[in-house]
Every structure is written in structure tokens, then in C-alpha cells.
């Protein structure tokens, strides 16, 4: 008993001493960071940017990660062969230039010759080859990076700074996938030296280099002073800030409080706090449209009553989307029309006009045509059965509210919609099995290739083809979109796919949400990239 108490005392003392040491260090750090009076707005070096994430990375190895936050961090830690500028054009990064053979199978990249990894080793063709081969190797067990490169037959170092990637078949998403941060080139020397520990001390070529990772607490990156190979959409040379610190905070209310107290520089604002933070006029607020459709209603075309296209079309005319947006999402987004949002390349602008609009007359006529007649209680009936179905959905606030609006709107047409909520994993399993008549879904993705996952019949039962629509015409369109390497022709194919999905009324797209970032007033030069991240190279602290 006494021994235990003594032990407890020692533990407490040691903690206390460490605490004093830590607060001394943080005091010193904060003294060093006191901003100097500024007379003109020239970018100033130094300082620390505090970011926050709800989720902790699984690993910082870009080739082994499955978490989104690691992808975001890799944008600061690494470089890819090519990248996208602020308008979404493909521009050189580690590769100065690239060519593709006429058959779309052989891609040749000319590398820069002035790039060094954070460990001092040089980036050359051998390093790129080793990095890509590691991503593809089965022993890497790569969740995402491995599949980004597509059907690779061979990677060759054709010269000191020339890399050739040979594909087994044409792969249209190839170029876009190469801009994914998880396709960054990692240092083969560090991979060799560090082995399994690479994921806790990654080495890339990016504007920031890894400094420290305190589990469940923070990840610290330091400026890479040698960074002179920045892509053309930011200034040449190393970034201005000394450090970026990513705090890991699971509770979003605590994040908001920490941001308002000035402990965080940037905050992804939760929908409930958007209006309030905007109202304070203290912070710069950036917003961008989510890359995906935030919410859509999808029909299972193999089940009654939505196997009848007239019924699907009637429902699409019966829903007044703007009310769903205003009430379900508090207006923080825009109404969706097709399977792709304006924020994803390949979106066809004509879809807004093309998609069915709220039209009670048409809805009633189509329902009548399909044999549904009002019963004595006002509910539609056909062959003595009432028009009622279950909408499967997930426990997401904005979805639940939207479901209630849709429920009320359909009730006005004599359609009874019951809402059933499932935990996300369970929901996906049920949708794959096809036991639902209709469901609510949403997605975020970077490229239009997403249509393959939602609509190609090979994904019925295994992937996301929850409409269970086995349609050879749609399959053919999707396959063509993946084979075609001419961007102009791909655009035409994607337009046709969007029109076709709307024609078949597989979805009633409802809304896409706007994401909001709030930034402290001392943060200057902040830019958001169309791929949905904050560009840090040009950012400096006043």
C-alpha cells in the first residue's frame, strides 16, 4: 500500500517536471514567434501554421496509407511527376515534360535534374522507378497508391533523368492519377534504411520535410530550405513558414473553440458554425464546392415500384430540390442535377437545363400513366396495394433532414416514404445486396471516372452500382470513357453518360455542399486549390 502510494507520488512528480519543461519550451517558442511590427505587406519568413484534423493518419507512408488526411499531408511533404495548376491544367512538377505514344501505352517523362530528397539523396530515373515499383509491389500491400498507376507492364529508367512507364492497356485516368499526392515519389534510400519505420518518418521532395509525430497529438513538418523546384503556380523557392503543425482533435466543437481562441490558424468549419463565424467578420472564409454529389436519391431498378421508369421520372418531378437544399443543408451548397458536380472535370454544363424539374402536373400524369390512382385515404394505389417504400439512409444530420423534406413532398402526391437509417458499413452491405427500393447516397471523388463505380454493371453486388441497373449501353459508354485518351473526346463521352443517367432517372441528384475554411487574420497569401486543399507555398504569417 505504502509502496504503491510512493510509486504514485513518483509518477506524478515526474509528470509535473516534464510539464514544467514543456511549458518552458512552449514559452520560449512563443517568445520567438512574437510577430514584429510590419510596415508593408511583403511576404515575411518564419512562424508556424497550426492546422487541425479530426482523423489521425494511419501512416505517413503515401504508398501504404488508406486515410484521406495522409493524402492531404503528402501534398506538403512530397511532389508528384506532374501536377495541376489552380485552373486544373496538367503542369510539370518533378517531370519537366512528358509524351505519350500514339497507342496510349508508353508514357515517357523527362525529369528535373536539380531535385533532392529530404535525406539528401538525388532524385533521378532510378529513384522514380524504385518508388513506383514499390507502390506496385504486392508486399507493400498498398491500399490506394498501387492502383493509381493502372495496368503497369513495366517501369524503365531510360536514361539518368528519363523514365518510361509502359501500360498493358490504355488507361484514361492515368495522367490525373499521377497528380494524386499518394503517387508522390518517395526516397528509395530512406525506404531501404528505415524499413517499417518509414511510415513514421517519411522522406519525400516536397516544400516541407517531416520533423515529428506525437501519436494522437500532433504532426510537425519543417520548411525544406532546399526547395527550388516548386510548380509554376506558386513562387519559386522554399515556403515562407518555418513549420506546419497538424493538431489531431477528434471533437469538432473543441476545434472551433481552439480556432476562436487563436490556437489554430485554419479551420474546416462545421456546417453549424458557418453562419456564426461569417458573422463575426474576424476571419477570412474560403469556400469551395465539394468534389462530388453531396446527396442523391438512388433507385433500385430491379425492385417494385421503381422498376418502372415512369415512376422514377414522376418522383424526380415531384421533388422540389431547393427546399431540400434550404432546409436539409441550411442552404450551404447548391442544387445538384446530374451524376457529376461542376467541381469535377468532365461536368456538362447543359445538365441543369436537361434534368427534370419540379413539375406537379407531369408527376401526377406519369403516376397515372403507370397505373397509380389515388385511394380513399389519398394514398396512391395500384392493384389494391398502396404506394409505399422504404428509403435507406445513413445517420448523417443533413441527410436525415433532407429525407424528411422529401418525405413530406412525396406525401403530397400520395406516396408514402418510410425512412430507415443504418450505420454506414451496414448500409453499404445492404445496398450491395440490393434489398432496398431506394436510398440516399453521396460521394467525393477527384475524377469523372467515378461513373464507372456507380453505373458499370461489373460493380453490381461488389461495387457501388446500387441502382442494380444492368444496361449494356451504359456499360459501353463507360468503357469508352476509360479507353479514350483524347481529352476532348472524353468530354463528349462524359456528356453522353450524364445525359443517359438523367434519361434513365437512376438518381434524383439533390444537392452538393459547399465546404468552408476559416483562416485567422494574420494568415496571408492563402489560396485554395481546385482539388480541395490549401496551398501553403505562398502562405505567410503577419
Amino acid at each position: 500500500m505504502a509502496a504503491a502510494q510512493a510509486l504514485a507520488r513518483i509518477v506524478v512528480h515526474r509528470e509535473a517536471r516534464r510539464a514544467v519543461a514543456i511549458s518552458l519550451i512552449s514559452l520560449l517558442v512563443s517568445l520567438l514567434l512574437v510577430p514584429l511590427p510590419l510596415t508593408y505587406a511583403q511576404p515575411k519568413s518564419g512562424g508556424e501554421l497550426a492546422l487541425v484534423s479530426t482523423e489521425e493518419p494511419d501512416t505517413l507512408d503515401p504508398q501504404k496509407t488508406g486515410t484521406a488526411i495522409t493524402g492531404q499531408l503528402m501534398r506538403y511533404l512530397g511532389d508528384t511527376l506532374i501536377t495541376k495548376d489552380l485552373k486544373g491544367n496538367y503542369i510539370p512538377a518533378l517531370a519537366r515534360s512528358w509524351t505519350v505514344s500514339a497507342d496510349g501505352l508508353t508514357w515517357t517523362f523527362q525529369l528535373r535534374n536539380d531535385v533532392k530528397f529530404h535525406d539528401g539523396s538525388a532524385l533521378n530515373a532510378q529513384a522514380v522507378k524504385a518508388s513506383i515499383e514499390r507502390a506496385l509491389a504486392p508486399e507493400t500491400k498498398s491500399p490506394i497508391a498501387g492502383s493509381l498507376f493502372g495496368p503497369v507492364a513495366e517501369v524503365q529508367a531510360a536514361g539518368d533523368f528519363t523514365v518510361t512507364i509502359k501500360l498493358k492497356e490504355p488507361f484514361a485516368p492515368f495522367l490525373d492519377n499521377l497528380t494524386d499526392p499518394r503517387a508522390m515519389i518517395v526516397s528509395p534510400q530512406a525506404v531501404r534504411d528505415l524499413g517499417d519505420r518509414f511510415g513514421r518518418s517519411p522522406v519525400g521532395t516536397g516544400p516541407f520535410k517531416f520533423q515529428e509525430w506525437r501519436s494522437a497529438d500532433r504532426i510537425i513538418f519543417a520548411r525544406n530550405p532546399d526547395y527550388v523546384w516548386a510548380p509554376s503556380y506558386v513562387h519559386a523557392g522554399p515556403p515562407f513558414m518555418d513549420r506546419i503543425v497538424l493538431r489531431i482533435m477528434p471533437e469538432s466543437a473543441a476545434q472551433v473553440a481552439a480556432f476562436e481562441r487563436g490556437e489554430l490558424s485554419v479551420l474546416a468549419v462545421p456546417p453549424t458554425d458557418v453562419r456564426r463565424l461569417q458573422g463575426t467578420n474576424k476571419y477570412t472564409i474560403f469556400s469551395f464546392l465539394r468534389k462530388g454529389v453531396g446527396l442523391f436519391m438512388e433507385f433500385n431498378v430491379t425492385k417494385e415500384p421503381f422498376s418502372d421508369i415512369r415512376v422514377r421520372r414522376a418522383v424526380s418531378h415531384a421533388i422540389e430540390k431547393n427546399s431540400v437544399l434550404q432546409i436539409g443543408l441550411e442552404g450551404l451548397g447548391e442544387v445538384a442535377s446530374g451524376p457529376l458536380p461542376p467541381s469535377i472535370w468532365g461536368y456538362w454544363d447543359g445538365i441543369k437545363e436537361y434534368a427534370p424539374k419540379y413539375d406537379p402536373g407531369k408527376a401526377k400524369a406519369l403516376l397515372a400513366e403507370a397505373g397509380w390512382r389515388p385511394g380513399p385515404d389519398g394514398v396512391l394505389q395500384k392493384d389494391g396495394k398502396p404506394f409505399s417504400f422504404v428509403l435507406y439512409t445513413a445517420p448523417i444530420d443533413t441527410w436525415t433532414r433532407s429525407a424528411q423534406i422529401v418525405q413530406a413532398q412525396l406525401r403530397a402526391f400520395g406516396i408514402l416514404m418510410e425512412i430507415q437509417t443504418f450505420e454506414f458499413g451496414t448500409l453499404l452491405a445492404k445496398l450491395k445486396a440490393g434489398e432496398h427500393p431506394a436510398e440516399f447516397m453521396g460521394y467525393t471523388y477527384t475524377s469523372p471516372d467515378i461513373v464507372q463505380l456507380w453505373f458499370h454493371s461489373s460493380n453490381i453486388g461488389t461495387g457501388l452500382a446500387f441502382s442494380h441497373d444492368n444496361d449494356s449501353k451504359l456499360d459501353a459508354l463507360i468503357e469508352a470513357s476509360r479507353r479514350e485518351t483524347d481529352q476532348g473526346k472524353r468530354l463528349t463521352i462524359y456528356r453522353d453518360i450524364q445525359k443517359y443517367v438523367v434519361d434513365q432517372v437512376l438518381w434524383v441528384p439533390l444537392w452538393t455542399n459547399t465546404n468552408y475554411f476559416a483562416v485567422q487574420p494574420n494568415v496571408q497569401g492563402a489560396k485554395t486549390h481546385p482539388d480541395g486543399f490549401l496551398v501553403l507555398n505562398d502562405l505567410w504569417l503577419k
Partner: protein, 306 residues
């Protein structure tokens, strides 16, 4: 005493076996597997199948469980699926902050609980007693995720006294330990109050009063010592509950710790990591119970173990 200890420690084996089997089954029976969670909903079926076989998740559950057991008896808890680090390393890194938090909360709870309980029991005015009882009711009823946020809003944001994003050191320990301690302190206050009231009705207390001993001495010297036995039992058993309660408090205050690690492991269906954590926490619980039994004997000479 030795035979008792041996018996109790031997019981550890079936207990842990049962606990790991239950966790294993629960994790495997809940929908969703680590690979689909890792790869996300956009993964292709072939990618899912590939990674599943690479991670050995395509083998029968029985084989997976036996493999886990085989390694565990040799002291190898395997590697986390999510982070790919050794489970033992993850746990040893995260256990100390949780123990510190639970210990701090325990100390706070015992001090506050006993003081409040005795004050309520010995209060001359019934209004003081009722007020304390009412406060304990509030302390008991407030969920920690809510009271924690309220404390952050008051002390960090409005008053600006304490930082929010700091995670090490004493200052960062104040709000989380108070949050975690509040319900425990409320329970202890109620137990103490009841226990002291009961002891105060004993004959020897009446004798002491009759002798003219001051009320202060009666309560604090004569009554409290005897009244503390049930209080300490409850407090000791509470410790395990505080470790468990750290799950929520650690999330609200963004503290690194075992609780948050457990949540991540379960949400990502990280079987080896979740198993390892359950194994460690269950062992702690068992040892703690044995410890409480021993302390019992020390505190109350009437209790003897054969």
C-alpha cells in the same frame, strides 16, 4: 493468502481467453471489415480481395483466432492493420497518458467526494445537506462529453485561462481530469454521506458525544475512519471505470491515450490492435480487483482469505 492469490491469478487465464474470444467474435460479426474501411467505398472488388488475402483476412475466423492466440502466448500481439506498427508499441505509447489522467481524476474524485460527503452528513442545517446532494445529482447526470465541452467554452474560450490544443503537462490535465472526476466524485460523495450517517448512529459515537468530545472530533476522528471502508472499496473499483471513461474525455480534450486508440481500432475494425487493447485493459481490471481484495483485508481486520 498465497493460495488465494494463486487461485485469483490462475483465474486470469480463462478470463482473458473469454474476453479475447468475445471481442474477436464481436468485431468479426459487426458488418464492415478493415479492408473496405481502409480502401473506402470507391475501392474495386479486386483491390479489396487482393488486400484481404495479403493481410490474411480471407482465412477462416477460427484460424485467425488461433493464430492470434498462438502469437499472444509468445508475447507477440502482432501488428496493427491500420498503422502497421507493432501493437505492443502502440499500447505502451498510449497507456501512460491514460493512467496519468485516470489517476489525477481518481485523486480529485476521492478528495472532493469525501469532503462533500462528510460535509453533507455532518451539516447542521438541512439546506446544506440538500444542496450538496443536489450538486452530486447534477455531477452524476451530466455526460462527460457535454460537461467537458462546457468547461472548454467557459475556462478556455470565455475566460481564456487554459489552452485547448496543449496536450502535455499539468495545465493540460486540469480540465480533462475535472471532467472525468465529476461523476466519480458525485458517487463517492453519496457513498461517504450514507456511510458517515450510518456510523454516526452507532453507540460508540453516542458514547463519544456523551463524554463531551467536540462534534468536529466526533465526525472527523471517530466516525470518518470507520465510514471510509466502503468508500475506499468504491473508489478502488472506480479506477477501472475511470480508465474506461477516458475514452470520451480523451476525445473531447484531444489527449493522446489508450481510450482514443481503442475507438480508432474498433471503428477501423483493426482486429489485432483492438484485441491487444482489450487484453491489456482486461488484465489490468483483474489485477485491480485482486488488489482491492487485498486492501480490504488490510483495512478491515475481520476479513481473512483462506
Amino acid at each position: 493468502m498465497r493460495a488465494f492469490l494463486t487461485r485469483r491469478l490462475l483465474l486470469l487465464v480463462p478470463t482473458l481467453l473469454g474476453v479475447t474470444l468475445a471481442t474477436f467474435l464481436m468485431l468479426h460479426l459487426t458488418p464492415g471489415d478493415p479492408v473496405t474501411i481502409m480502401l473506402g467505398e470507391f475501392a474495386s472488388a479486386s483491390d479489396v480481395a487482393r488486400l484481404r488475402s495479403e493481410l490474411g483476412l480471407d482465412r477462416p475466423i477460427v484460424v485467425q483466432y488461433l493464430k492470434f492466440l498462438g502469437r499472444a502466448v509468445r508475447g507477440d500481439l502482432g501488428s496493427s492493420i491500420r498503422s502497421r506498427r507493432p501493437v505492443a508499441e502502440e499500447i505502451t505509447e498510449r497507456l501512460p497518458p491514460t493512467l496519468v489522467l485516470a489517476l489525477a481524476a481518481q485523486v480529485l474524485a476521492v478528495c472532493a467526494g469525501i469532503i462533500a460527503g462528510v460535509t453533507a452528513a455532518a451539516a447542521r442545517r438541512p439546506s446544506v445537506d440538500s444542496a450538496i446532494v443536489a450538486v452530486t445529482l447534477v455531477g452524476l447526470s451530466m455526460p462527460t462529453f457535454w460537461s467537458g465541452l462546457l468547461l472548454i467554452l467557459l475556462f478556455s474560450l470565455t475566460l481564456g485561462w487554459l489552452p485547448i490544443t496543449e496536450s502535455g503537462g499539468l495545465r493540460a490535465l486540469i480540465l480533462p481530469s475535472v471532467t472525468l472526476a465529476a461523476p466519480a466524485a458525485a458517487v463517492l460523495a453519496r457513498v461517504t454521506r450514507a456511510s458517515v450517517l450510518e456510523v454516526l448512529r452507532q453507540d460508540y459515537v453516542r458514547t463519544a458525544r456523551a463524554k463531551g468530545v467536540s462534534e468536529r472530533l466526533v465526525v472527523y476522528r471517530h466516525a470518518l475512519r470507520n465510514a471510509l471502508i466502503p468508500v475506499l472499496t468504491v473508489a478502488a473499483l472506480q479506477f477501472a471505470g475511470l480508465v474506461a471513461g477516458a475514452v470520451i474525455v480523451e476525445s473531447v480534450f484531444s489527449r493522446p491515450g489508450l481510450g482514443r486508440l481503442a475507438v480508432t481500432a474498433i471503428l477501423s475494425r483493426d482486429f489485432p490492435l483492438a484485441q491487444g487493447i482489450v487484453l491489456v485493459v482486461a488484465s489490468m481490471y483483474v489485477f485491480l480487483n485482486v488488489g482491492v481484495d487485498i486492501v480490504y483485508g488490510v483495512l478491515d481486520p475481520r476479513i481473512r482469505y483462506q
